[in-house]
Symmetry: C2
Subunit: 398 residues, 2 copies
């Protein structure tokens, strides 16, 4: 199968691309390398040293024998080139990771809010419009987020996979039942863009019958897969900074370098998690089970377990002896929330979840220890604030 | 009250701006004049001859004595100037009409789809980000559309004003009740952008407490208000072409020039309508009743009556003796639909609806007859098609 991986140089995109290539698919990575450039702007680097995309591709061909191609293209800006690429290559599937993916970065300044909206909405919409214009019959697999559902009170209810069945009471006492897109409640400008993506998908699926699978992914932890471990030049990135680092990986890395674990607010926030190996496997499963012609957008919850942030900190502290620091919360969010998630779609397709207790926590600590000297400790604190009230709390430490 | 009217040179924006100025508000029109430029691209003109914005403002000052100001600014492109304008003027309210507003235009080509998404989403988001950055406490009144609810089957249910109360059944037989944003079902890329706006408003209201009223407006008919009639240089625009003309005004204008009334598909499509005078009055009522600090987004259904398209054609035919033509439907939409709409918010605020039977139908026919020689009949047919299947039907007349 010929597959485009948009954003195939990023944290999820790269291990996904090598996995698909290894399974014999003809992979074309399409990326504008924006993630590396944002690191330059922020003055940070992946904790793990990562090779250039060109080196990565050379190494991959040497290691695996199956070459991948790379097209340097900005899908949010270069519509005509994207259209031409679709027309000339006629891919059967497109995995779409090509979005600005960090909530704190999206809340940093007006400029990063605006970039996130402009880049993510136009990127996704260009892709949809180009597919219609090209007439290519292609299955889009899009990386969404669990955050579209929001982290408010779900009243102990289980979050279904994308669609919610509701009853609508009528004034005359009757009621009718309907299946609707689960109402959204994004917690940042970044998350908001993924709720916008949902509506773009809904419309283009309805009007143009584009086949789409939207993956509502939890927070990814871990760094390498068995394939990216095969050569140092294939190593995946590891973000630890306050903008792009995500909670569990940050705790493990903080423990590795003797930095107190940064719990923001009460730690009562409950989030969904998935290991990078499972993320890669889920994308593959989604590709292997495309929607049929005319089927509505498939939505899968791509997560394997839920945890309270404070519990994670405790677990990592117990494992490593690290100290826990309570810090002001830069986010405007519920103090605590429950989160019960239905993920049976992937389980039924054969996913074997990698859980926190499988020894992989230690593996991440080992990776972080190995590259500890590459860490810039000044980049660890979260400095993006959701509102001026939160910014003030960070400044004063209150 | 100091009020910005974004898009204040357009069909709804201009009569709204003069009404607010007449009521003593300090009005600043902000517009990039894109509507006039799109007419140039399409090779059409307003049926009524309209003065330049500069002439309009001179005439207004002579007629009414209350000057309005004009700032030539593209809110989707010139963020820094928008921010500076907010900081220096500190308006108390902003009426936001500054979006590409035609469904057929939005479906014309990939370029117009992409322009509509890029312009509308970035325009609205720039406004929200600039308000946060400026720290100005301002009430946004946004022109949305009834089309966010969609025109599928509502199963005889009444469409509430923005929020729907649903019951969510649980596996254990219990259920909980929740009020959600009414699920959206846009019928074109244009309508889709208004569903995206809704989510932008939801988020910025939640995170930054921006006070917002979203007006879900029906199809506007009529052309002038008592104020724009006061001087020929104040005349409002009248769109009759296949892209920007809307159904009732097109029927009236077609009748006036002896062109068969263009009913697309069965005519069983039911839509909501409002006269331009009521539209102007509703915006004023919304401005006079802002949400309180911390209140969620207010949503009003800005319409006064619903009609089937075929019934409208029959009514206009009866009034004028016009012939009705059945044409292929360029839209990918339900063959017919019901539409029962709750509009009690504006009625309770004192709106006295102007209905189709008030003699104003004849007034529109008179306006159209007066300017009949300005009509380019070749611009009347709808040529934008929703899909290639529809395009084929238009070509073959099938």
């Amino acid at each position: 199968m010929k597959v485009f991986v948009l954003g195939g140089d990023g944290f999820c995109g790269w291990p996904c691309a090598v996995n698909l290539a290894h399974r014999g698919h003809d992979v074309v990575i399409v990326d504008n390398l924006s993630r590396r450039k944002i690191d330059i702007d922020l003055g940070v680097e992946s904790l793990t040293p990562i090779a250039t995309i060109q080196e990565r591709l050379r190494a991959w061909e040497q290691v695996d024998g199956r070459a991948m191609r790379f097209v340097h293209l900005d899908i949010a800006r270069e519509y005509e080139r994207l259209l031409e690429l679709l027309r000339s290559e006629r891919p059967e599937a497109i995995v779409h990771f090509a979005e600005q993916r960090a909530a704190p970065y999206s809340m940093k300044t007006s400029a990063t809010k605006r970039y996130t909206v402009d880049n993510n909405v136009n990127g996704t919409h260009n892709l949809l419009a180009a597919i219609v214009e090209s007439g290519v019959d292609v299955h889009i697999v899009h990386l969404g987020t669990m955050g579209v559902y929001g982290y408010g009170s779900h009243r102990g209810a289980t979050i279904p996979e994308g669609y919610l069945t509701v009853e609508v009471p009528q004034p005359d006492g009757s009621r009718f039942t309907e299946q609707i897109l689960h109402p959204t409640n994004p917690g940042s400008v970044y998350h908001m863009t993924k709720t916008l993506d949902q509506l773009l998908f809904f419309y283009y699926n309805k009007n143009d019958s584009i086949r789409i699978t939207d993956l509502h992914q939890g927070i990814v932890w871990g760094t390498n897969t068995s394939l990216t471990e095969k050569d140092p030049r294939l190593t995946n990135r590891f973000d630890y900074d306050g903008d792009y680092g995500t909670v569990l990986n940050r705790f493990l890395m903080q423990a590795a370098i003797g930095y107190p674990l940064t719990v923001h607010g009460t730690g009562g926030q409950t989030r969904a998690f998935i290991h990078i190996r499972d993320s890669v496997r889920c994308v593959q499963l989604a590709l292997e089970h495309p929607p049929t012609q005319g089927e509505k957008v498939k939505i899968f919850n791509q997560m394997t377990e839920s945890h309270r942030v404070a519990d994670l900190a405790e677990k990592v502290a117990a494992l490593t002896g690290a100290r826990v620091d309570r810090l002001p919360n830069p986010r405007n969010e519920a103090i605590e929330n429950d989160l019960i998630v239905d993920n049976r779609c992937f389980l039924e397709l054969g996913l074997q979840p990698t859980t926190l207790d499988d020894g992989l926590l230690t593996e991440v600590v080992d990776v972080a220890r190995r590259w500890a000297d590459r860490c810039d400790r000044s980049k660890i604190p979260c400095r993006s604030a959701w509102t001026s009230r939160q910014a003030e709390a960070i400044r004063t430490g209150a």
